[in-house]
């Protein structure tokens, strides 16, 4: 229930804390609803954003960054939605987990891979950027 709308950006900044992950998910649902996604694809995006924010929260916790923030940035264009999740949760050391249950971490990775069409991890000076892409009309 959307129309052909011009490319547009939405940006949301939340504290990198467990209780705010739901805010990011809700915003993601609202944004995705503006596009020609199916109900299931909107659910996928909500879940993927939830998993990515949870990962950020776990790293902020491990790196002891109480002040860390998550920025969710979405760019809508006619055939795809690009979602950036940028955190200031500090470094994610290679091969080192967050101390989180390994299975949970694997499940999170699995879900992200399955739910979006592309996902790229781009380390940042003060945290991590994950860029996801979901195409309209694909599964």
């Amino acid at each position: 229930m959307s129309s052909n709308i011009a490319p547009a950006q939405v940006e949301l900044t939340i504290p990198c804390q467990p209780e705010y992950v739901a805010v990011a998910r809700l915003a993601m649902s609202g944004i995705a609803s503006r596009m020609h996604f199916t109900y299931e694809q909107i659910e996928d995006l909500r879940l993927a954003v939830g998993e990515l924010c949870t990962l950020s929260v776990e790293w902020a916790n491990k790196n002891n960054r109480q002040e860390a923030r998550i920025v969710l940035r979405t760019e809508i264009s006619s055939n795809k939605l690009t979602v950036d999740i940028l955190d200031t949760a500090g470094p994610r050391h290679c091969g080192e987990g967050t101390g989180r249950d390994v299975e949970e971490e694997n499940l999170a990775q699995l879900l992200i891979t399955l739910l979006v069409d592309e996902a790229e991890v781009i380390p940042q000076p003060d945290g991590t950027l994950v860029r996801m892409v979901k195409y309209v009309g694909q599964r």
Binding site: P18, E19, V21, A22, R25, E40, E43, R46, L47, G50, E51, T54, V57, E58, R100, D101, E103, E104, E105, L107, A108, L110, L111, L114, L115
Partner: protein
């Protein structure tokens, strides 16, 4: 936060943890506490009812897997009630629908044969 948890004991002494709303990184610790409480009482078989769950993430799955492992170690079992297609899908895409005993209703779960 839209989340509910309640532990109840059915007539046949079978405990059931009923969840509602969003089970995620913020709320899943409450599910973990409720499961630990049952395990510490020596319960060998219980139900987790996901009927009213609207959202469930990897944290919640991890907590359920942890509970399943602990109860299977003592030869027990954990039954899931999950009639919602939306939530069942999360189990399916992660392959966990084959790991858990999943049922559509309380009646169906109660009739399930005791494993092991």
């Amino acid at each position: 936060m839209n989340f509910k948890i309640e532990t109840q004991t059915l007539e046949d002494n079978l405990p059931v943890i009923r969840l509602g709303g969003e089970v995620d990184v913020y709320t899943a610790p409450q599910l973990k506490q409720a499961m630990i409480a049952l395990l510490e009482k020596g319960v060998k078989r219980f139900i987790v009812d996901l009927t009213n769950v609207e959202y469930l993430d990897s944290t919640a799955l991890g907590v359920l897997i942890g509970g399943l492992k602990r109860i299977r170690e003592v030869g027990g079992n954990l039954l899931l009630i999950c009639p919602s297609a939306r939530i069942r899908r999360v189990f399916e895409i992660t392959g966990l629908d084959k790991v858990f005993d999943m049922h559509n209703s309380e009646d169906e779960a109660k009739k399930a044969p005791e494993k092991e």
